[in-house]
């Protein structure tokens, strides 16, 4: 239900931003925008902490055409991962042990990145593209166990290769689909000073759907 509400908000506000535009992405000297709803799937150490996919996420993308078929720009967004886990965790500490509890786990990713994209196809047609984002992520990782709430926030560097397609709807806007793998290569020590201290490398897949438009 809440996901539907987010999606409705997203579409409503994104469509409100569509003013007279020209139709095709990647013309030199023009700004482009994209607003997307995102579903994300954790991988690696992120999946070890939270295995459930994230249904809460959005992205904002701004691109500037520097050459025919090439844009550069920046991207931001917000992805919330959450999982409630009940179970026993073995503690590889000295002395060794185990802990049983209900835990609420969260990770918030807020990417702030530069990007570059190359578009294939012709104006007015489907425009598949490939791209690469590089920059930083604000990461807020949290675990609630019993009455304890342990929060770890950090800034991590990463890259995100991207594959997508823009489908023109009319002269003014189009639908955008994309898949992006977010790889945060900064190894981060989380929950320092606790029994849960661990070095992790975060990563997740983001599947995006939204609208794209172009300025005059």
């Amino acid at each position: 239900m809440k996901t539907k509400i987010i999606f409705k908000w997203f579409l409503l506000l994104a469509i409100c931003g569509l003013f007279p535009l020209s139709s095709s992405l990647a013309q030199a000297g023009h700004w482009y925008g994209a607003a997307t709803y995102q579903v994300s799937f954790p991988t690696g150490d992120t999946k070890d902490f939270i295995s459930d996919p994230s249904w809460r996420g959005f992205g904002l993308d701004f691109r500037y055409g520097v050459k025919k078929d090439i844009t550069v720009g920046f991207v931001t967004g917000w992805n919330i991962f959450y999982e409630q886990v009940q179970g026993t965790t073995q503690l590889e500490t000295d002395p060794p042990g185990a802990i049983t509890s209900l835990s609420n786990r969260y990770i918030n990713f807020v990417p702030v990145m530069l990007n570059a994209h190359y578009y294939m196809g012709e104006r007015g047609q489907y425009r598949p593209y490939i791209g690469l984002c590089a920059g930083g992520y604000y990461v807020d990782q949290e675990i609630q166990i019993g009455i304890a709430d342990i929060i770890n926030d950090s800034w991590e560097w990463g890259v995100a290769p991207e594959l997508g397609v823009v489908i023109p709807v009319d002269r003014t806007w189009g639908i955008i689909f994309a898949a992006k793998y977010n790889f945060l290569f900064t190894k981060e020590t989380v929950f320092s000073g606790t029994q849960l201290e661990k070095d992790i490398t975060n990563g997740y897949w983001g599947i995006q759907v939204g609208v794209a438009w172009q300025s005059y």
Partner: protein, 212 residues
């Protein structure tokens, strides 16, 4: 870029900001909020000495007193705990020790293979927070709230298994269990949770059984 383009761009920028603000608020309102019950706060943690051969430990002595941590960190008899709660804790430990293959030793405790001590403590906590009304969402993220304070009591039960042959600083625990949670308003519920948590402490420590 001409004037019309600039106006269009600014207009879109405004829409973007509006969109961003709305998304932040919507996502925040969808942030998974946890309405924890007292039971949800229960935590059972155990540690053990990996150098101990638990197979060789068969008999145990359990004093019929529940202890507590004193103001100076000393271990003193707990005079606040009710006899029913104390008996419930001791009986739960005994039944789980028996389940693990241990035999209660009735002689001099220092002659038993292990000495088991139970401790119980409670403490009151005050925590602050924010209450958000519908109107709060007219304000930016975390911009407005009514401050509220919560008071709750946390109860803890500790079980320590010691080697009675060692004394003083050498008296290292061979097994430690801590059960912790926010107390509910009914004693029956709290006692049930304590028994359940003590059983969980033994369940997650299968090495206690050894080859017994």
């Amino acid at each position: 870029m001409n004037k019309t383009s600039i106006k269009m761009f600014l207009r879109k920028g405004f829409i973007f900001l509006l969109f961003l603000s709305a998304s932040v608020i919507v996502l925040q309102s969808c942030y998974p909020y946890d309405n924890l019950t007292p039971e949800d706060t229960d935590v059972v943690i155990t540690f053990y000495d990996s150098g101990t051969n638990f197979s060789s430990l068969v008999t145990y002595a359990l004093p019929d007193t529940i202890y507590a941590f004193g103001n100076n960190g000393d271990i003193v008899p707990n005079e606040d705990i009710s006899s029913s709660s104390a008996n419930s804790i001791l009986n739960s430990i005994k039944s789980n020790m028996q389940e693990m293959g241990y035999e209660e030793f009735s002689g001099n405790p220092s002659d038993a293979d292990v000495l088991v001590i139970a401790l119980a403590n409670s403490s009151s906590w005050v925590s602050g927070g924010c209450y958000y009304s519908y109107w709060s969402y007219w304000y930016p993220y975390y911009g407005w709230c009514y401050p509220v304070a919560y008071t709750y009591t946390v109860g803890s039960v500790f079980i320590v298994m010691l080697d009675p042959a060692k004394t003083g600083g050498d008296n290292k625990a061979v097994w430690f269990a801590g059960c912790n949670g926010v107390l509910s308003t009914t004693n029956a519920s709290n006692q049930s949770r304590i028994n359940s948590d003590i059983s969980q402490a033994f369940t997650q420590s299968p090495y206690l059984r050894g080859s017994k």
